[in-house]
C-alpha cells in the first residue's frame, strides 16, 4: 500500500505543529535593505582565536583581548605597526631626561571620550592607580613596577599610599612619570593595555547602552558572547577623519579550520589562525603574511627533581633534541629552531646558539652523571596543558629522546587547572612553557628566573651569579654593557645549568584579503586597525571575485 494522502496530511499537521513552537525569526534572511546599506559601509570582519574574557585594561589577557582593547582605546603612545617605533597617541609629544628617569607627556587638546565628555589627565592617573592597586588584581601590574614607588604601592595592601608613587599632573595637559631606574623600553611599554586611560562612565545611548566608553578610533556597539563583537567608528576620536573603516566585526573562532573555511567563503577579511596542515599550501597565497615573533616555546625543567637535579642530565636532554627536525617536520608552520631563550630580533643582542645538537656528547654526559645504565632513569613526564600542537611536540620529543639518548620521556596532557597547579607547586619534572617578550629587551625574559621571582621562575633554579648579573644589567643604561651582562646570564641559564630547554620560536600567521590595506605584521604582534582601509569597487562584487580566485587557488 503506498503512502496514503492521509499519512501525508497527518505528518504535515505534525510538522506544522513543530514549526509553531519555534520563535519568529526562523525565516531565511534574504538580501534586505539592511544588507544593501551595509554594502555602502566599510566593514572589516576579523576572526579572533578565542572569545576574550574582558576588555577592561587590568584584565586584558592575550593577543586577542589586546587587539580589541587597543582598537577601542588609545594610550599616551602607540607604536607604528610597520616599524614598531613609538608614535604619539593621546599624547602629542613627550620629553625624556638625560638620565632616562624622568618622562613628561603633553596630551593633545580637546580630547574626548566616545560620548563627547572630556578626556583628561586625571583619567590616566585614575587608571594607573586602579591598575596598580593590589585589590584590583591586574594581571600585568608588574609592568608598572619600573615606575618609582610602584612596587611598594602594589605590595602595601589597604594601607597603600598613592602619594608615594611618582606620577604627577604638572599642568592641564602635562603628565610626569619618574622611573626608579632607567628603562630604555619604557616608551614601548606605554603602548600596552595596562597604560590605557579608563573611566567609570558608560555609554548612555542605545545600541551600546551600558557598554564602556572608548578613547580610541572605535567604540563598542554590541558584544554577543561567543558570537561576535561589533565596533563602530568613534566620532569623538581625535583623528576620526583619518579613520577609514565604519565598522569592525570581531568573531571569536576557536577552531582554525572553521576560521579558514569562513575566510575562504569570503565571510572574514582577516584571520590569524590556520589549520597547520594547510599552511605549507597557503604560504603561496598573496594573502599570507608571516613574521618571526619574539616568542619562545621552551621546556621548564624542575631542578629540584631527584633525577633532574644534576645539570649534566638536563644538558644531555637539551643536546639530544633535534630542533631543526622538530621545526621542519613536525611543526611545519615556519617556526625556527631556538638555541637561545631570548628570541632573536632584539637589535644588537647576540643570537648565537647557546646549546646545540650533539648526540655523542649528550650520551657521554648522561653516562658521566651516573646513568650509564639507562634503566636507572625512570620514565620522565613532560606535562602540558591540553593543546593539539603540544601533543605533537611531546610525542616527537619523546621519540627523539628514546632513539638518541635512550631516555624515556612521556608526554602527559593535563587539564589547564591541574597543569598550573603542578607547575606552581613544583610537582612536575618537565613542563612545556612559552614566553613572549613584553618589550624589546632581554630583561623581559631573563628576570623571570631570578631566585627572588618565585611566582614566575617555577623551576627551582637559583644561581647567585645569575641574580647578580640580572640585577646589574637591568639598570645599566649603556647598551653594550647591558647586553653583555644579560647574555652572560642567559648562558648560565640555558647552557651551563640548562634549567630551560628552548625549543623553537614562533611565527605569526596571518591571512588578510588583498583589498585590506594598511595592515602590517610585526614581531610584537602589535596589530593596529586604526589605519586599515578596504579598497574595493563594491563590497559584493569584489568579495565574489576574490572568493572565486581563492577557491581556485585552494583547489591545489
Amino acid at each position: 500500500m503506498p503512502i496514503s494522502s492521509r499519512d501525508l496530511w497527518f505528518s504535515l499537521r505534525l510538522l506544522s505543529l513543530v514549526m509553531l513552537i519555534l520563535p519568529p525569526p526562523l525565516r531565511a534572511q534574504h538580501a534586505s535593505p539592511k544588507a544593501l546599506h551595509q554594502a555602502a559601509l566599510s566593514v572589516f570582519r576579523l576572526g579572533n582565536t578565542r572569545e576574550i574574557d574582558s576588555i577592561d585594561p587590568p584584565f586584558v589577557d592575550g593577543g586577542d583581548a589586546n587587539l580589541v582593547s587597543r582598537t577601542l582605546n588609545e594610550g599616551l603612545l602607540v607604536l607604528d605597526p610597520a616599524t614598531l617605533r613609538p608614535q604619539p597617541g593621546l599624547a602629542e609629544s613627550w620629553t625624556v631626561s638625560s638620565d632616562g628617569r624622568r618622562y613628561a607627556f603633553t596630551l593633545r587638546e580637546n580630547l574626548r571620550w566616545s560620548d563627547g565628555s572630556p578626556l583628561t589627565i586625571q583619567d590616566f592617573i585614575d587608571a594607573f592607580k586602579r591598575n596598580m592597586h593590589p585589590e584590583t588584581g591586574a594581571y600585568y601590574a608588574a609592568y608598572m613596577d619600573v615606575i618609582e614607588g610602584a612596587e611598594a604601592f602594589r605590595a602595601s595592601g589597604t594601607a597603600a599610599d598613592w602619594s608615594k608613587v611618582a606620577i604627577r599632573q604638572l599642568s592641564l595637559r602635562e603628565l610626569e612619570i619618574r622611573l626608579k631606574e632607567p628603562a630604555p623600553y619604557f616608551l614601548e611599554l606605554l603602548a600596552q593595555a595596562i597604560f590605557l586611560p579608563q573611566t567609570v562612565r558608560t555609554q548612555k545611548k542605545a545600541p551600546g547602552q551600558g557598554l564602556p566608553l572608548s578613547s580610541g578610533p572605535f567604540r563598542l556597539r554590541s558584544w554577543a558572547l561567543k558570537d561576535k563583537m561589533i565596533l563602530e567608528k568613534n566620532p569623538y576620536y581625535h583623528s576620526a577623519t583619518s579613520v577609514y573603516l565604519d565598522e569592525v566585526q570581531v568573531f571569536p573562532i576557536e577552531d582554525p579550520k572553521t576560521a579558514w573555511n569562513m575566510y575562504r567563503a569570503g565571510e572574514l577579511d582577516w584571520i590569524r589562525s590556520l589549520p597547520a596542515s594547510l599552511i605549507p599550501k597557503l604560504r603561496k597565497m598573496p594573502d599570507f603574511h608571516s613574521s618571526p615573533i619574539l616568542n619562545t616555546i621552551y621546556l621548564r625543567v624542575n631542578t629540584k627533581d631527584l633525577h633532574l637535579k644534576d645539570p649534566r642530565v638536563r644538558r644531555a636532554i637539551s643536546m639530544a633534541i633535534d630542533r631543526e627536525l622538530l621545526a621542519e617536520k613536525v611543526l611545519r608552520e615556519g617556526q625556527k629552531a631556538a638555541y637561545t631563550f631570548v628570541a632573536p630580533g632584539i637589535e644588537g643582542y647576540s643570537a648565537e646558539p647557546i646549546i646545540s645538537l650533539d648526540i655523542p656528547a649528550a650520551r657521554r654526559l648522561l653516562d658521566e652523571a651516573g646513568y650509564a645504565d639507562r634503566k636507572k632513569l625512570p620514565e620522565l613526564a613532560m606535562i602540558y596543558p591540553s593543546n593539539p600542537m603540544s601533543e605533537r611536540i611531546g610525542l616527537a620529543l619523546s621519540a627523539m629522546l628514546v632513539r638518541n639518548l635512550g631516555v624515556r620521556m612521556a608526554p602527559r596532557n593535563l587539564e589547564r587547572g591541574v597543569f598550573y597547579d603542578r607547575l606552581n607547586d613544583l610537582r612536575y619534572q618537565i613542563a612545556r612553557s612559552d614566553w613572549t617578550l613584553e618589550y624589546s629587551d632581554p630583561r623581559s625574559s631573563l628576570e623571570k628566573f631570578t631566585s627572588a621571582n618565585v611566582m614566575n621562575n617555577l623551576t627551582g633554579f637559583a644561581d647567585p651569579t645569575y641574580d647578580q648579573l640580572i640585577a646589574t644589567s637591568s639598570v645599566e643604561w649603556d647598551q653594550e654593557k647591558r647586553w653583555k651582562g644579560f647574555r652572560r646570564a642567559e648562558e648560565i641559564l640555558v647552557g651551563e645549568q640548562a634549567a630551560l630547554i628552548p625549543l623553537f620560536t614562533n611565527v605569526s600567521i596571518n591571512l588578510w584579503k588583498p583589498y585590506v590595506k594598511g595592515m602590517y605584521d610585526n614581531p610584537r604582534l602589535y596589530y593596529s586597525i586604526r589605519h586599515v582601509r578596504l579598497e574595493r569597487s563594491t563590497q559584493a562584487s569584489g568579495a565574489e571575485k576574490h572568493r572565486r580566485s581563492v577557491q581556485q587557488e585552494a583547489k591545489l
Binding site: K257, W260, P275, A276, S277, L278, P280, K281, L325, E328, K329, V330, R332, E379, S386, P388, E391, R392, L395, A396, S398, A399, V402, R408, M409, A410, P411, R412, N413, L414, E415, G417, V418
Partner: protein, 311 residues
C-alpha cells in the same frame, strides 16, 4: 494491575515447565538465532574476524601503532602504508587496528561489568519484591535522573583521569541501570511461576533460586540488551576522546603515550580532513561498520528470541 507480557518465549506452547527454562537450551537458541538469517551470521562473522585482527594486530603489522617517523607531510594509501600515514608518520592501518582493540575492549568490558551489576541488582530487587524492591528501584530512579554525562565529563576533566581502565569502570557505573530495570521486570514475572514454589518447598535457599534458576532465564533478554548497550558505550568513549580527554597507555617503545582509540582517531581525522581525508575515512568506516554489525546482531538476537521485545 496492568499485566505485562512475558519477555521470553520458548518454542513449545507449554512454557511453564521449569525444565524448559534452564541453560542449555539458551545457548542453543542463540546459535539458532544466528543461523536463522544470513545478516545475523554475516554480522557475527565480521565482528569475530575484526576482533581477531585487532587483538592480534601486534603480531603481523609492519609498523607499530605509535611508531613515529619524521616525514614532510601526511600521505595517503600506498603499498607501504595501506591506509596511509598521518603527519607524524604513523601508519594508519596499524592505528586503526589498535584503535579497534581499545574500542572493542572498552565496549565489551564496560558492558560486561554493567551486565554483571545490572543482572544481580535487578534479580535481587525483583525476587524479594516489596519494600526492598521499592527502595532499590528508587535508587535506580535517582541515579537514572542524574545528568550523568556531565558528571562523567566533569570527573574526567577535573581529575585529569587518564587511565583507560578507570574509564571502563566509570562508563559501567552508569550503564547498569537500564539492565537492572529490565531484569527486575523479568524476574518479577518469573517469580510467579510454579517452579519457584516447588523449589522453596524443597528447601532451596533464596540465593540458589535467584542465581541458579531465575538468572539463567533472563540471559536471553540480557544478551539482547547487552548487545544493544555496546554501541552506546563505544560512542561514549569516542565522544570523550573526541572532545579531547586523553587516555594514556604504555607504548611499544616503553614510554607512556596517548592511546589511539577510534574516538581519538576520528577527532584527529576531522581536524585534518582538508588535507588528509583518509585519516577520517578509514577510522570512520571501521567504526561505523562495527556499530552496524553489532546493531544487526542485536536485532537478530532479539527477533529470534522474542520479536515483541520493545528493547
Amino acid at each position: 494491575m496492568l499485566k505485562r507480557r512475558l519477555f521470553f518465549s520458548a518454542p513449545s506452547p507449554d512454557s511453564t515447565s521449569w525444565q524448559d527454562l534452564s541453560s542449555p537450551s539458551f545457548s542453543m537458541r542463540i546459535f539458532h538465532a544466528l543461523k536463522s538469517r544470513p545478516s545475523n551470521s554475516i554480522a557475527a562473522i565480521y565482528l569475530l574476524v575484526l576482533a581477531a585482527l585487532c587483538f592480534s594486530s601486534g603480531l603481523f603489522v609492519p609498523y607499530a601503532w605509535d611508531e613515529i617517523h619524521f616525514v614532510s607531510e601526511a600521505t595517503g594509501p600506498s603499498w607501504q602504508h595501506w591506509f596511509g600515514i598521518d603527519d607524524l608518520g604513523r601508519d594508519l592501518f596499524s592505528r586503526v587496528l589498535y584503535g579497534g582493540r581499545i574500542s572493542l575492549s572498552v565496549g565489551l568490558m564496560s558492558t560486561s561489568v554493567s551486565v554483571l551489576i545490572g543482572i544481580s541488582y535487578g534479580a535481587i530487587a525483583g525476587y524479594f519484591g516489596g519494600t526492598i524492591d521499592r527502595w532499590m528501584m528508587r535508587l535506580v530512579d535517582v541515579l537514572y535522573c542524574l545528568p550523568y554525562y556531565f558528571v562523567i565529563v566533569l570527573v574526567m576533566v577535573l581529575f585529569s583521569i587518564d587511565s583507560l581502565y578507570l574509564l571502563f569502570v566509570v562508563l559501567a557505573l552508569f550503564q547498569w541501570l537500564g539492565m537492572a530495570r529490565i531484569i527486575r521486570g523479568q524476574v518479577l514475572s518469573l517469580k510467579e511461576q510454579e517452579f519457584v514454589l516447588a523449589l522453596r518447598g524443597m528447601g532451596a535457599s533464596h540465593a540458589r533460586i535467584v542465581f541458579r534458576h531465575m538468572v539463567p532465564n533472563t540471559l536471553g533478554i540480557a544478551s539482547v540488551y547487552a548487545t544493544l548497550m555496546v554501541p552506546g558505550v563505544m560512542m561514549q568513549e569516542a565522544f570523550l576522546s573526541f572532545i579531547g580527554i586523553p587516555f594514556t597507555v604504555l607504548g611499544t617503545d616503553g614510554v607512556h603515550k596517548p592511546v589511539a582509540s577510534w574516538g581519538s582517531l576520528l577527532s584527529e581525522g576531522a581536524r585534518y580532513f582538508d588535507t588528509a581525508p583518509w585519516l577520517l575515512i578509514f577510522p570512520a568506516f571501521f567504526f561505523s561498520t562495527t556499530l552496524l554489525a553489532i546493531h544487526f546482531l542485536g536485532d537478530g538476537l532479539r527477533d529470534a528470541l522474542d520479536p515483541s521485545l520493545k528493547v
